[in-house]
């Protein structure tokens, strides 16, 4: 892990960009802290540069609540090498949506499963590197979409103790099966009128989770319209489970 830039933001947050091998990432930490703070991994749909304003806003809210936050670029996104198969799956998805046709399981599987398989080991490697830094500690939270990545991480990565999952992406049936094996506390955010979201699939996924503590928080508005009070509730959830 190699830090490539460091910036002090005006609210006492330090933002550092890094690379882990050839994977770019960003780490947000409090400028001063008397003890190591729990880390929250911020999930996103890929393309760190375009997502940066929203990720930085979520990170600053997390740091204000006593956490550190970090994220890494997804495979085949941003400046990372493309995948012909992923590009093809994305084109097939776009074609189906534009034609108003149902999105087939085959397209969802080709779009999401290779991404989960490739991303999850990278996020775990990032966790190894991040938790070796002074000032950061587990247990760790995962916050965001891609929800299928969150599900897989919750199943395979024991350092992740709680997750805030953003419903809103297509979920392969195999991931729906994996969801039954998730046992960590979950706080699931659903935008009720999310234009890019299959609401019934989100409800089925919530139902499938094996966790004894799981809460579904549905709010009005589209994909990016999560109300501020819902973000505060999510941070309250992390405070209950990580500190």
């Amino acid at each position: 892990m190699r830090f490539t830039s460091e910036k002090r933001l005006d609210d006492g947050v330090v933002e550092r960009r890094f690379t882990l091998g050839d994977i770019p990432g960003v780490l947000w930490t409090p400028e001063t802290a008397s003890a190591p703070v729990p880390l929250i991994l911020l999930g996103h749909p890929g393309g760190l540069d375009g997502m940066h304003p929203r990720l930085a806003a979520r990170a600053r809210q997390a740091v204000a609540e006593g956490f550190a936050a970090a994220t890494v670029e997804l495979p085949w996104s941003g400046d990372r090498p493309r995948s012909a198969a992923a590009d093809q799956a994305r084109a097939d998805l776009r074609r189906a949506l534009e034609a108003g046709e149902p999105v087939t399981d085959d397209v969802v599987d080709r779009l999401v499963l290779p991404l989960v398989d490739a991303a999850v080991p990278e996020w775990r490697a990032a966790l190894d590197a991040l938790l070796a830094l002074p000032g950061l500690r587990g247990p760790v939270g995962y916050s965001g979409g891609v929800i299928s990545i969150g599900v897989r991480l919750a199943v395979v990565e024991p350092r992740i103790a709680a997750a805030v999952l953003f419903a809103g992406s297509f979920v392969p049936r195999a991931i729906l099966q994996e969801a039954r094996r998730v046992t960590i506390p979950l706080h699931v955010l659903l935008q009720w009128d999310d234009e890019g979201n299959d609401r019934q699939m989100a409800l089925d996924l919530f139902d499938a989770f094996g966790s004894a503590e799981k809460a579904l928080n549905a709010n009005m508005g589209g994909h990016t319209g999560v109300p501020r009070f819902a973000g505060e509730a999510a941070n309250g959830f992390f405070a209950r489970h990580l500190t």
Copy 2:
């Protein structure tokens, strides 16, 4: 309105029982307050004596958050005169549930619609009397089931500015239509595994509400298992809208 008893609870809450005509009720207020506090009406399924422990717990939490709370007995419940038609509808419902048969619209209509028609004017009369007391003020919140009573109150009573609705009772189709006319902010609590609850009906009702701000908070557990943090989130909702 006539107060019939007064009790100081150990956490600075005063509990007063009253009658409004022949309707019994309970009012919980802070022992000391520098200014009038907003009132929250506590809904319940009927039978004030049996419900008292749970109602008092909700009321004490509300008073701790800076509100007053009040409730009145429902028509045909507790010590109030029975209704042969309501008893018949309840017996028909029980028979259907015990036989594992679907509960027909006819039974739901006979069970709920006369109750809503009879209860809502009484709750509005209680509001007249309560808001005339020193120390209480609007805007008012409604919190609880019977959810159909909450829906009707939200439509017809302009002093109610926000509602926390507990999904969990049978909802007539006519009430589902009325829900489209609700425009006040709503915070809907759904116990995901509520044994007495039709989850799909609750989701349909949530979808039907016309409110621009509505949030669905679903948690695990049965009818009486609402987790403490969900109650705190509901009080935060009232704090945003009533104070």
